[in-house]
């Protein structure tokens, strides 16, 4: 009788352990998912901040480029800026590409034929496109995301 009861208690114990471990696994999974939502939202925000930083950097770089063209007769107009921030590519990070086009600019910006969109306007201006490529952290680079910001400035 005693042996039978001990065996029954063991079965109950195993059943309880299985139920408890399933519940803990579920809680852990929900916790992981919940933190992934927060991390992804942080990464979206970080990407937009990198985008805005590179936009400001591009504005300064365009001004410096223009000064070099006027003063030193440099002919190459600035067309793109490339950068990578954070961890190296397979592990996350943010790849930033800045594309610059020019409008209504006569010489010396004429050197950039592919990026000179229109030369009929009298007020020189530049279109700056900033692209930030990143991915959700949990899926590495399998789930690519892109943030785009554009500004038109007078130069």
């Amino acid at each position: 009788m005693q042996g039978k009861r001990a065996g029954f208690s063991m079965l109950t114990a195993i059943a309880i352990i299985i139920v408890m471990s399933s519940i803990s696994a579920l809680i852990l999974q929900t916790g992981i998912r919940s933190s992934a939502v927060t991390t992804n939202s942080y990464r979206d925000r970080q990407a937009s901040l990198w985008g805005k930083s590179y936009l400001e950097y591009a504005k300064i770089a365009i001004m410096k480029n223009r000064m070099l063209i006027v003063e030193n007769n440099q002919t190459e107009a600035l067309e793109s800026i490339h950068g990578h921030q954070g961890r190296s590519k397979p592990h996350g990070g943010y790849t930033i590409t800045v594309q610059i086009s020019y409008m209504g600019v006569k010489r010396p910006f004429h050197s950039s034929k592919t990026r000179l969109l229109d030369s009929t306007n009298n007020n020189p201006s530049a279109i700056i496109d900033v692209y930030v490529d990143y991915s959700a952290l949990e899926s590495r680079w399998k789930n690519p995301m892109r943030y785009h910001i554009r500004e038109v400035i007078g130069i």
Binding site: L26, I27, T30, G31, R33, S34, V37, T38, S41, D44, K52, Q99, S101, M103, G104, L117, D118, N121, N122, N123, S125, I127, D129, H148, I149, R150, V152, G154
Partner: protein, 237 residues
């Protein structure tokens, strides 16, 4: 409880992102509030402090950012650039640098359920509260003729074709869209549900931008609710 907290967190995150994406492009000085759907809209000044308990409806004129970031397959020229060609523009004629106004007209008519076009949009110059009507446009010349403007002498402009409003009615948050692009415009009959179970929201000025706080609740048991609040900072554009 864990599951409820996860769901609240996720839903709130999505809701805040949707609203932040719209509020980011609110034109300065066009934010107004209402006490109910049928009451008059009250303009908010430079400093904003709105609580849904007092004013459950907030509306604003939104700059058309789809046009600014758009480009055709053959050219990087945006639909409208926001920059005035000062050498040519005079009187009520606004020549826009680097703009494809035909593309702008197409984008607006594709997005607007009531079939608006560039003619129905308004141009905001400086601090003008209601913007200026566009009487006609010439895409080839990037020219817009404005109504009642004495002289276009500013370097920058903003283009808007719709106002938006959010309304908290019986814990359901609605968004009104496709409305006239002027401050305090009449609410349209086009609205969609953004979320249910919204207990309150707050919108207030912080630094140069806005802060948006929203609380979402979910039923745990009979007469018992879990409540989660989150705040998002929105940069001014």
């Amino acid at each position: 409880m864990q599951r409820i907290s996860y769901k609240l967190n996720q839903n709130l995150e999505i809701l805040l992102s949707q609203l932040a994406n719209r509020l980011e492009f609110a034109l300065k000085g066009t934010i107004s509030v209402r006490q109910s759907i049928n009451s008059h809209a009250i303009s908010q000044g430079g400093h904003i402090s709105i609580d849904s308990k007092q004013y459950p409806i907030v509306q604003w004129v939104s700059m058309d950012m789809d046009g600014v970031s758009a480009m055709s397959s053959s050219s990087r020229v945006p639909a409208w650039s926001g920059r005035v060609e000062t050498n040519k523009s005079s009187g009520n004629r606004l020549y826009s640098i680097a703009s494809n106004l035909q593309l702008c007209d197409n984008i607006i008519s594709n997005l607007s359920p009531s079939g608006r076009g560039l003619i129905d949009a308004r141009v905001y110059l400086g601090g003008n509260g209601d913007g200026y009507e566009i009487t006609s446009f010439d895409s080839n010349k990037s020219l817009m003729n404005l109504n009642k403007v004495t002289s276009v002498n500013l370097q920058k402009y903003r283009l808007a074709w719709s106002s938006y409003a959010i309304a908290l009615v019986d814990e359901t948050l609605y968004i009104y869209y496709d409305m006239e692009p002027i401050a305090r415009s009449k609410l349209s009959n086009r609205r969609s549900i953004l979320s249910r179970g919204v207990s309150s929201f707050r919108l207030y000025s912080r630094g140069s931008g806005l802060s948006f706080e929203m609380c979402l609740k979910s039923q745990v048991a009979k007469d018992e609710y879990a409540n989660l609040c989150k705040e998002r900072y929105i940069d001014a554009r």
